[in-house]
Symmetry: C2
Subunit: 295 residues, 2 copies
């Protein structure tokens, strides 16, 4: 009796990757330029290595040239900065991505600020965030995960303008930019965070909910206004003895309950996750187009 | 039967100016430095000339050195940029302010971006706004009017953390930064704008309301939750045949009605207005302290 439409991020992401592939081929043929994405990985966290490998594969599949620098855990900040400078100056590189988290002895702010703003495909530079917040200004890049959330709403024809939207979570990489994007599209936005009193009551008013908290199954069916649209960014491991790895991944939203009340919902996995990488490819392509003035 | 406490911005601003005067004297005595504020006025709008004159007077009263450049309406963008560059390089200048609006043939964004970020006492640079939006980052300057609103809440001991706040209006200079500031202090913030459906319903939920719309008496008594706190930024002329000028100034909030329901409210004039200039002086002092490493 689950009635919500499933917002199929995996399918949409595939479609977007195909569109990107076509554009990349067109650009290559017209001006001989292939977009390039450089990834800097510091240390040997397994999860980070997996993310970087997935990004690399995704780049190759659409025809983006992918470069990678792996630095040891005990590198100095200066060594990371040197890699960034090299890529800032390399005309074959159109996007630079520093895989987070960095080792704790490094100053993340300083390192991220070193990425040239015109190659900041993650969109995390404060100048990009400032422009995202300001009316009449446009960021060069929009952060990938929130951009993916909005793209899903667009591709499913869900109206944003004039709707009440609640974003749960206010991180720099998801919640806050997601709220700014919804606001730019004329939603009336409320941000709910860990200090919010009575979050259920606020969430229950929302026509559109984007959740980026990191708490398994936190958002219950009874918190949802019938017909609301749910974008679940959360990726949370829960124990599962039936799974070969001993755990499985769930969202912030209790899917079984909420799918009975909502009009549309993203699954986890297969919702926002695949969109994030698709948006990274999209940002890299836009960057190459902008740098080479190709339309 | 008006029961709300009046939040007396005029009084608080005077107090702040006195505190600033003391600090300036202390700095001068200790390191021989006097803060300097440079104002660039382009064209001959009467209201702009008045604002600039008021800022100049306020500077002099607290001991800030004030410099002024007046350029004719038909100046080129380059001439304005040249003045900015001169002040960026002038070590006696710690704050630079370009009086808005600029003549329509000029690119406001380009001109504002030319102000060195460490002298951007208006806090309008997108890099400052980005840092204001981001957790774990701090802007060098907070825009004066929203900073004045929050300062009033602080000085009247009004708790922000955990409260529901509604900001009406989302301009770059007031509404949007006011929302970011409330959020930094852990309020749960909703921004209401011209595309919001049923604004009354949303406003009625708020514990704290900051209104920056520019519509005389728009917010009615019936829109207010009993006990809410109201900061009225609006400055709107309404016809008044009894006034010598033929008009008087009112806020966005219908004071007579709302003062019967709210627990505290700023009057117009004498609420937020005087705080704006006080915050400009405060930003200029902080800038001089930062540049000269004085604490
Ligand atoms: N699909 C994808 O591609 C991506 C998925 N993610 C996933 O999204 C989730 C969020 O990631 P991220 O934004 O980086 O996380 P952060 O930990 O940086 O931020 C979490 C936010 O949730 C808020 N929060 C915590 N507990 C509660 C609560 N009980 N009620 C309301 N709000 C709460 C926090 O509030 P406060 O600010 O007050 O502390 C904070 O703002 C994670 O599960 C992550 O794995 C992240 C990035 C990409
Ligand atoms: N006290 C002081 O020192 C200062 C006072 N002011 C005063 O504050 C007021 C606002 O100034 P400013 O921010 O520059 O104005 P703007 O005109 O730049 O912004 C007005 C905002 O109000 C919104 N709005 C318009 N109509 C409505 C409505 N009916 N319901 C809800 N929202 C609405 C607009 O929405 P949308 O974005 O959808 O168009 C916009 O975001 C003015 O009266 C101004 O004089 C300003 C600066 C300093």
């Amino acid at each position: 009796e689950s009635t919500a439409k499933v917002i199929d991020g995996k399918h949409v992401a595939k479609q977007i990757r195909e569109e990107i592939g076509v554009e990349i081929a067109r650009m290559k043929e017209a001006i001989g330029i292939v977009p390039g994405l450089a990834v800097i990985l510091v240390g040997d966290r397994k999860d980070s290595a997996t993310y970087v490998r997935n990004k690399k594969k995704a780049c190759e599949a659409v025809g983006i040239n992918s470069l990678e620098v792996c630095l040891p855990e005990n590198s100095t900040e200066q060594e990371v900065l040197n890699s960034i400078t090299k890529f800032n100056e390399d005309p074959s590189v159109h996007g630079i991505l520093v895989q987070l988290p960095l080792p704790s002895h490094m100053n993340e702010e300083k390192i991220l600020n070193a990425v040239g703003i015109e190659k900041d495909v993650d969109g995390f530079h404060p100048l990009n965030i400032g422009r995202l917040a300001m009316r009449g200004r446009d960021p060069l890049f929009v952060p990938c995960t929130p951009k993916g959330c909005i793209e899903l709403l667009h591709r499913y024809g869900i109206q944003i303008k004039g709707k009440k939207a609640v974003v749960i979570g206010r991180s720099n990489i998801v919640g806050m930019p997601a709220a700014l994007l919804l606001q730019r599209e004329d939603a009336t936005v409320t941000i709910v965070h860990s200090r919010t009193n009575n979050p259920e009551g606020i969430i229950k008013e929302a026509d559109i909910i984007i959740s980026a908290v990191g708490q398994a199954n936190m958002v219950r069916g009874s918190w949802i206004k019938p017909g609301a649209v749910i974008i679940d960014v959360g990726i949370n491991p829960v124990e599962d003895s039936e799974s070969p790895r001993g755990y499985r991944l769930v969202g912030d939203v209790c899917y079984e309950e909420v799918a009975k009340v909502a009009s549309a919902i993203t699954p986890v996995p297969g919702g926002v996750g695949p969109m994030t990488i698709a948006m990274l490819l999209s940002n890299t392509l836009s960057s190459a187009k902008r740098i080479h003035n190709f339309d």
